[in-house]
């Protein structure tokens, strides 16, 4: 019974990942992350992605604040934030977020405010989509782990 459940969940994960790859949400770099995950760091992907979300949320919040300042938008700072976002997104293989960030960045380089606002919206949309997908993925993953690995399960439920 248990084994069957795990198989089904694993299939779900694969299906989800495949669809994410097909949509271009993720790219090979994500596989690199998965490769890096081994017995010594069994939650590597989960941890990295979580940090990514934390960091990105901060960056996005800052970006929104910077852009909301109607009189003066510090495009240089926006560019720096976006560099960060581009870097980390490409590191985890979040291709679509990365691509829209690059577009956003080129708008900021041109001091194109409407372009930036549009860019931010698209980035946020892509980011949230990614986050939802990842959340879903991790939910399934946690289920898988809960079947197999008790201590890990506990860690994932409550990382503190």
């Amino acid at each position: 019974m248990l084994g069957l459940g795990v198989d089904r969940l694993q299939a779900d994960i694969n299906r989800l990942l495949t669809s994410l790859f097909h949509q271009g949400v993720l790219d090979e770099q994500f596989l690199q992350l998965q490769q890096l995950q081994d017995d010594t760091s069994p939650t590597f992907v989960y941890d990295v992605i979580n940090i990514y979300f934390d960091e990105s949320e901060k960056l996005l919040r800052n970006l929104r604040l910077l852009l909301m300042d109607r009189e003066f938008s510090d495009y240089k700072k926006i560019g720096l934030h976006l560099n960060q976002l581009v870097g980390s997104s490409s590191s985890i293989g979040a291709r679509r977020v990365r691509n829209v960030c690059v577009a956003f960045r080129s708008a900021s380089e041109l001091n194109n405010r409407p372009g930036c606002l549009r860019g931010l919206e698209v980035v946020e949309h892509e980011y949230h989509y990614l986050k939802n997908m990842m959340h879903e993925l991790f939910q399934v993953l946690i289920h898988v782990i809960s079947y197999t690995h008790n201590s890990l399960y506990n860690y994932l439920i409550d990382p503190t």
């Binding site: 990295v48 720096l80 870097g87 980390s88």
Partner: protein, 906 residues
């Protein structure tokens, strides 16, 4: 009865008068008609002649002409008609007047009738009263009759009536008065009538009026034609001028009249106009034509000529009317316009053609870009596949598996090579590729190219290099590209040569003809190059191979083309190599040509301009010469002009003995180099000299790195060649074993993985500001078995480097506070100067650490690998320009990291 008769009479009279009045204008008209011809016309023409001295006319003939032709008579008819209309108008006015008078008369009559009626009523006269007549005579008669009657009646009345005589007398008197008044009125009317008749008579002289009309018409014509560039004329059946009007006559009247065109003047167009006139005359149809005259009389002028035939009243042709207007300017303008329009059309066509070309070019560019992008996209996963296969090949495999794997690796390598070629090509084509100017020794480059070629040689071929004495020792050029070209040509030559030799010949030539076209470019170079002089070096790469048939030569340098499909099958290859070589050579301002003879051999020749570098300025070129300084005087091979490499087959020559004897390298040098050769791989024992260590490591990389060009500068010629020899021997043995192609770098990579395992744990510094990236990199490093320190920006990196010594720095380019490029520059400047002055200047706070720095380390070159977010060559160029050694494009993958570490650590 009488009265009635009289009335009739009167009516008749009245009618007569009316007829008369309506008749006379017609009379006058006919009179005028006659006058018009004889008086009016001749008059007008005379005036024309007198007033206009410039006009010529045959006055004698014209009236006659006017009389005999339809045109003439029609004009006169017109005039007559006009006159008639006027007269008609006058008649109408008179008639109206007459009508008024008649009415007045009728009124008077009515009054008289009334009076009579009154009388009649009283005297019972019959109602039928005769109408009063205007003539006094009639009136008198009437009166008499009346009186008679009245008398008669009176008598009767007196007899019958009882009225008094006084009454009747009074009545008669009053009647008399009325009659008198009526008579008076009648008289006045007659007077008026007479008067108007007189005025009419005065008007009746039409001649003056017509004259005036004609004068007006003449004046009008004169006014209109005064300045018009018009010639008018009439010519008879024989085309002799009878009349001519010309505003600017150059000939006198008697010169023209009675003569034909041909008789008057000569030149172009005269005959044509004559023919045209004759044609019109024959056809009887008016027409227009433009004729350009080219005569002595008035030069070159274009006339628009209108010719119409003239008929007499009987309908016979008697000549032509001719009218010409000078339109020279208009014709010129029109021609100009036509030309402009034509030009315009041509330009438009060209424009559209150009647009098409641009469109095609854009499409091509896009396609190329697409190809480049695709190739790039393919390269990353493919390198993963090949890399994995390599790793797999290090594991325990049986023979069959190894064979399969080797096939897999070599195929993968081939595809990778193809993709690299495509990327190279697209870089050159899109102009992204930039050339670097570095100092290098052409002799060494040639030697190393040959060495590397010899290293992987599997045929019985002699490789030789021959460099003319006048070739400078040190020149400036893009050594990387030149090596690429040489390597490409040499490997090509080797590929198609089965026996004999393959060689490189270098000589200085005078500036070729095609270079003078690029004079501007050269000038610009001259300016940049300060006082350096330019030299043209011709490089022949010759072989004794299968040769190239003449018909295949033109497409030899085309992309993806090989001499023939057969060759492609037999020898493989992408067909891109020569295309790349050609493009590179052209990019550097040179020319690549080929001569060949089937079954004898081919010679590829490329001519390139170089700047001559003076060899005494190497103090600023540490990288190249740092290790020359601290070596004892050694034989200098920098002037050596001839090398020869014999094939190294099997392990027969692995000890190098025969080769040395065979003029392999003419210098006998002690083997005091800190390098041991073990099994075809080099291991550096001495680590203090980092730069040196780098170079030895590069040797077997078959020219992939620019540094390798300078690797043998210390004059230790034997050990590297020996190494390559041993390397290739090991390769050869492995080849024999597998019978499958494995390229030498691959072999070497295998060796290096082994090396890595034996070497000590290196110190690595990761300079990166992105948490995620750090995390990922850390995990990767862990998997590769390394640990590293982390610096979050350039300043931290400098502090860290200052604090402890590292073997490798992985540097993010884009960072806050101090970016990777600047940090690298500062580190390099520290390495050169031994102080952090530049860094301090740039605002980096490191004074507390300054005393720690050691002079020893300043001679080492710390390998710095850039991590860039975009892989465009521009940014990689920037990395190199700022002193970085290599770069990894982001996102960093395990494979890339591994390759990089493999290259720089062991």
């Amino acid at each position: 009865m009488v009265c009635e008769m009289e009335t009739d009479d009167h009516q008749n009279e009245e009618m007569d008068v009316e007829v008369l009045s309506s008749m006379w204008p017609e009379d006058v008209g006919t009179e005028a008609d006659n006058n018009q011809f004889n008086v009016g016309d001749s008059d007008t023409l005379k005036e024309v002649d007198i007033a206009e001295k410039r006009t010529m006319a045959d006055l004698k003939r014209l009236p006659e002409l006017m009389n005999t032709t339809d045109q003439g008579s029609s004009q006169l008819t017109n005039l007559v008609k006009q006159w008639e209309y006027m007269q008609d108008h006058a008649v109408r006015l008179l008639r109206e007047e007459l009508k008024i008078l008649t009415r007045q008369r009728e009124e008077a009559e009515a009054k008289e009738l009334k009076i009579i009626e009154e009388h009649n009523f009283e005297t019972e006269e019959p109602e039928n009263v005769p109408v009063l007549d205007e003539t006094s005579d009639l009136f008198r008669r009437f009166k008499e009759k009346k009186r008679d009657k009245l008398v008669g009646r009176k008598r009767i009345e007196i007899d019958e009536e009882f009225d008094t005589v006084a009454y009747w007398k009074q009545k008669a008197l009053s009647l008399e008065k009325m009659l008198e008044a009526s008579t008076e009125r009648e008289r006045r009317l007659i007077e008026k009538l007479n008067e108007s008749l007189k005025t009419m008579e005065s008007h009746s002289a039409p001649v003056e009026e017509l004259t005036q009309n004609l004068k007006r018409a003449e004046g009008f014509l004169h006014f209109i034609l005064q300045n018009a560039p018009i010639v008018m004329g009439h010519q008879d059946k024989d085309l002799r001028y009878l009349f001519i009007y010309n505003k600017f006559p150059t000939l006198r009247e008697h010169d023209i009249l009675g003569k034909t065109d041909v008789e008057i003047f000569h030149g172009g167009g005269v005959k044509e106009s004559e023919d045209f006139k004759r044609e019109v005359l024959e056809k009887g149809k008016a027409s227009k034509r433009e004729i350009t005259f080219e005569t002595d009389l008035f030069g070159s002028k274009t006339f628009l000529i209108y010719v119409e035939p003239v008929y007499n009243k009987a309908g016979e042709k008697i000549g032509i009317n001719y009218m010409g207007m000078e339109v020279t300017d208009q014709v010129i303008k029109r021609e100009k316009m036509a030309k402009l329009r034509e030009d315009n059309a041509v330009r438009k066509a060209m424009e559209s053609e150009l647009n098409k070309t641009i469109h095609i070019t854009e499409e091509t560019m896009r396609a190329k870009q697409m190809l480049a992008t695709m190739s790039h996209e393919i390269r990353s996963p493919l390198s993963g596949v090949v890399g994995m296969a390599e790793i797999l090949s290090t594991t325990k495999l049986d023979k069959e598996q190894r064979q399969l794997l080797n096939v897999m690796i070599s195929s993968g390598d081939l595809v990778l090579q193809l993709i690299n070629d495509i990327l190279d090509l697209s870089k050159v084509e899109s102009g992204v590729m930039k050339l670097e100017a570095t100092k290098f020794r052409p002799r060494e480059v040639v030697k190393h190219v040959l060495q590397t070629a010899a290293a992987s040689l599997k045929k019985d071929l002699t490789l030789e290099g021959n460099i003319a004495d006048e070739v400078p020792i040190l020149v400036v050029g893009d050594v990387l590209r030149i090596r690429q070209i040489l390597t490409n040509l040499i490997s090509n030559a080797i590929k198609f040569t089965h026996q004999g030799k393959v060689g490189i010949k270098l000589k200085v030539i005078p500036e070729p003809a095609f270079a003078s076209d690029n004079a501007l470019k050269a000038d610009a170079e001259e300016q940049n190059g300060l006082d350096e002089t330019s030299v043209w070096i011709c490089c022949d790469v010759y072989d004794t191979g299968i040769g190239i048939p003449e018909n295949a030569l033109p497409c030899l340098f085309k992309k993806y083309m090989q001499a023939s499909a057969d060759h492609a099958r037999k020898y493989g290859g992408t067909g891109l190599g020569l295309a790349i070589c050609k493009q590179l050579v052209e990019l550097m301002g040179g020319q690549l040509t080929v001569t060949s003879q089937v079954n004898v051999g081919s010679t590829f020749t490329f001519i390139l301009p170089y700047k001559v570098a003076t060899s005494n300025d190497h103090s600023d070129d540490q990288e190249e010469f740092s290790d020359m300084v601290d070596h004892q005087p050694e034989p200098d091979d920098s002037t050596e002009g001839y090398f020869q490499f014999k094939p190294l087959l099997g392990s027969i020559y692995s000890n190098g003995g025969p080769i040395i004897g065979n003029n392999f390298l003419p210098h006998k040098v002690m083997l005091t180099s800190p390098v041991k050769l073990i099994n075809g791989q080099s291991e550096t024992v001495q680590v203090e000299n980092g730069g040196y260590m780098d170079e030895t490591r590069h040797e077997t990389r078959s020219g992939h790195c620019p540094e390798s060009a300078q690797q043998y500068e210390n004059g230790n010629d034997r050990y590297p060649s020996k190494e390559s020899e041993s390397c290739s021997s090991s390769q050869a043995s492995s080849e024999m074993e597998s019978e499958l192609t494995v390229s030498s770098p691959r072999e070497e990579a295998k060796n290096e993985t082994e090396v890595k395992e034996t070497s000590k744990q290196p110190k690595i510094l990761l300079v990166e500001d992105n948490k995620i990236n750090i995390m990922v990199a850390k995990s990767m490093m862990k998997q590769l078995g390394y640990t590293f320190d982390i610096a979050n920006n350039g300043v931290e990196a400098i502090t860290a480097i200052n604090g402890s010594s590292y073997d490798l720095v992985l540097m993010d380019v884009c960072m806050p506070v101090l970016d990777g490029l600047k940090a690298t520059r500062l580190i390099r400047s520290y390495e050169e100067s031994g102080t952090w002055d530049a860094a301090v200047e740039a605002g980096v706070d490191i004074k507390t650490l300054e005393d720690k720095q050691t002079c020893v380390r300043s001679t080492n070159r710390l390998p710095i690998i850039a991590m860039t977010a975009n892989t465009l060559s521009e940014s990689s160029e920037e990395c190199y320009a700022n002193g970085m050694d290599s770069f990894i494009s982001k996102p960093v993958t395990l494979q890339k990291l591994k390759e990089c570490l493999k290259q720089y650590l062991h």
